[in-house]
């Protein structure tokens, strides 16, 4: 039931992948409900969602390991969903790598090429090139059990890419890595995608990861598409309360709008919204310490500091305002915060969002 706010792809580039009204149920359990989205050529799209959102199921349907209950998928204008997985020009990097334990690293990488009956010379040279690309040439003769998790992940990547698929699917490939390695791999994956130029569809539950790597993010919730937009757009202009809360931190203000003024407890600001009840998302970093630079339209208020959480460069303060309203405010770190502070925010930063209903 969600409307889709989508970055329009230029008319001259037809989408690589066209997912039309795909739904999937396991018995009575509806995991995906009416998903439609498109993946452009050469784009890095992340499917983001919590567990239970259906993101992995959607990926598996694209790969061919599950069949959609209804709907269709087209790649390059032709039906994809009628093909078995081994006939799709799609390759997958699995969450736990799924490397073949009885084959060496080189044999793993060359597996798809051997199946395609390519001449031995070509297999060897392409395997070497792929291993080079992921910086694992030294391990060509090793067995998967002898290399580390991060290294296995690279091999899984090479094994998929060496086949030159039109689309690469990645199923939470970084989730098993520790934080530092993960950050490093995020950067490497992104630059690899740029270098290779094919479309990546990346599944993750980590919203920071999604923002770092993607050209666009498709946020899934309970089997439906909540919003699909570029990271900046989805962060700065979330469409729903869920999106605002899931990606980054936010304050959700519910208030009444009358005659162009929104009122939420002791705060009020100008808004273009129609009369009625409204929900607004206000990011903690958009609430600043009042220092007189806010301008006349800025909403000023006073609040008491209840708690502070140190995050390094910034701190997250929990503020109690008049009337008991609690807000999170992000401010530059300083040694001592005391008592009451004067804060301000600009009305433009109070983004109206739709409420997210629960779903059966």
């Amino acid at each position: 039931m969600a409307t889709i706010s989508e970055l329009t792809t230029s008319a001259s580039t037809a989408p690589l992948l066209d997912i039309r009204n795909v739904a999937k149920s396991f018995g009575k359990n509806a995991v995906l409900r009416d998903i439609s989205l498109q993946v452009a050529e050469g784009e890095f799209l992340t499917i983001l969602g919590e567990s239970g959102s259906g993101k992995t199921t959607l990926l598996r349907i694209i790969a061919g390991f599950e069949a959609a209950t209804s709907g269709e998928i087209l790649m390059g204008g032709e039906r994809l969903d009628t093909l078995p997985p081994y006939r799709r020009r799609v390759n997958t990097v699995f969450q736990h790598y799924a490397l073949f334990p009885h084959l060496t690293v080189a044999e793993n990488v060359g597996y798809g090429l051997k199946i395609a009956r390519l001449p031995k010379q070509e297999v060897e040279s392409r395997v070497e090139h792929a291993l080079n690309m992921v910086k694992m040439t030294a391990y060509a003769a090793s067995k998967p059990s002898k290399i580390s998790g991060g290294q296995q992940q690279r091999i899984a990547l090479a094994r998929a890419l060496v086949n030159r698929p039109r689309l690469l699917l990645l199923d939470e490939p970084l989730s098993a890595l520790d934080a530092n390695l993960r950050r490093q791999m995020q950067v490497e994956l992104k630059s690899l995608q740029r270098e290779v130029g094919i479309s990546f569809v990346f599944v993750t539950h980590d919203q920071e990861e999604a923002m770092v790597m993607s050209d666009r993010i498709a946020l899934l919730r309970l089997g439906e598409l909540e919003q699909i937009a570029s990271p900046r757009e989805i962060y700065n202009r979330p469409a729903t309360a869920y999106t605002a809360q899931f990606i980054g931190h936010t304050n959700l203000l519910s208030g009444e709008v009358k005659d162009g003024i929104a009122r939420c407890q002791s705060l009020s600001w100008r808004t273009g919204l129609r009369d009625g009840s409204g929900l607004f998302s206000l990011r903690p970093e958009n609430i600043r310490l009042a220092d007189g630079t806010g301008g006349s339209a800025a909403v000023r208020f006073r609040g008491k500091i209840l708690r502070q959480a140190f995050h390094g460069a910034t701190e997250l303060l929990q503020i109690e305002c008049a009337g008991g309203l609690l807000l999170s405010v992000r401010a530059a770190s300083q040694e001592n915060w005391s008592g009451d502070v004067d804060l301000e925010f600009s009305p433009a930063d109070a983004i109206p969002v739709r409420a997210s209903e629960g779903r059966a």
């Binding site: 349907i61 061919g64 390991f65 599950e66 069949a67 969903d81 009628t82 093909l83 078995p84 997985p85």
Partner: protein
Amino acid sequence: MKAGERNVPTSRWLPWHAIVVFGFLYLPIVTLIVYSFNGSGVGGFPPRDLTLNWYRILFADEAIWTSVLNSLLVAFAAMAISLIFGIPAALALDRANFPGKTLFRRLVLLPLILPGIITGLSLLMLFQAGEVKLSLLTIILGHGTALISVATTEVFAGLQKLDRAQEEASLDLGANYWQTFWHVTLPNLRLSIIGAALLIFTLSMDEIAVSFFLIGRDNTLPLEIWGRLRRGITPEINAISTIIFVFSLAAIVTWYRLRAKAETEVVL
């Protein structure tokens, strides 16, 4: 083949093959049961004159029931020996390091795969050298020795699944090694031990190869049946076999129930 279907070869013949193999495995058993009610004895087709006669004759047959009692005695005693020596053997293999460990492991597990007669006649030589008269006792010793490997294998597998952290927690809380063994290790091995006990019992009741050489005056059930078979087939044998089958079935169903129940009790 479309997407999402079973992504492994689903040749049509697989289920049929399965049916044929199961048929092959159960044909003798079914025949046995059916013909134990056959009035005109073994053989002949189709079976007719359904009767409980053979069971009646069976129940009056004293020699058979004596041998059953002997077998039960042997089975329980062998069970005791196998467990008493097999459980420590499993613990030793899992946790201790000592010179000759590999040889020990191979020796303990050897009777599992060695044809029974070799174990049987080598023990016969031992008893002969020690001038021990053949009797139920020698059979008990034979079964016990041969079946230690079963106890060891089952308990070893159970030890592998054991969460070491539980034992460490017990030690951390002040219990010593013996108390930990008694209160933590052993209860966790309960399932493996019961499984081993059931298996040992069944194998002992059916054991022929080792018993063949170590038999004294008293027969075990298999040897009693064996003796009669040499003299000729009687449908009585069908009857006793059917009874054995029913008991085996009951044993294995019980075993599965116990295991299923225990698995739901495991707290992660």
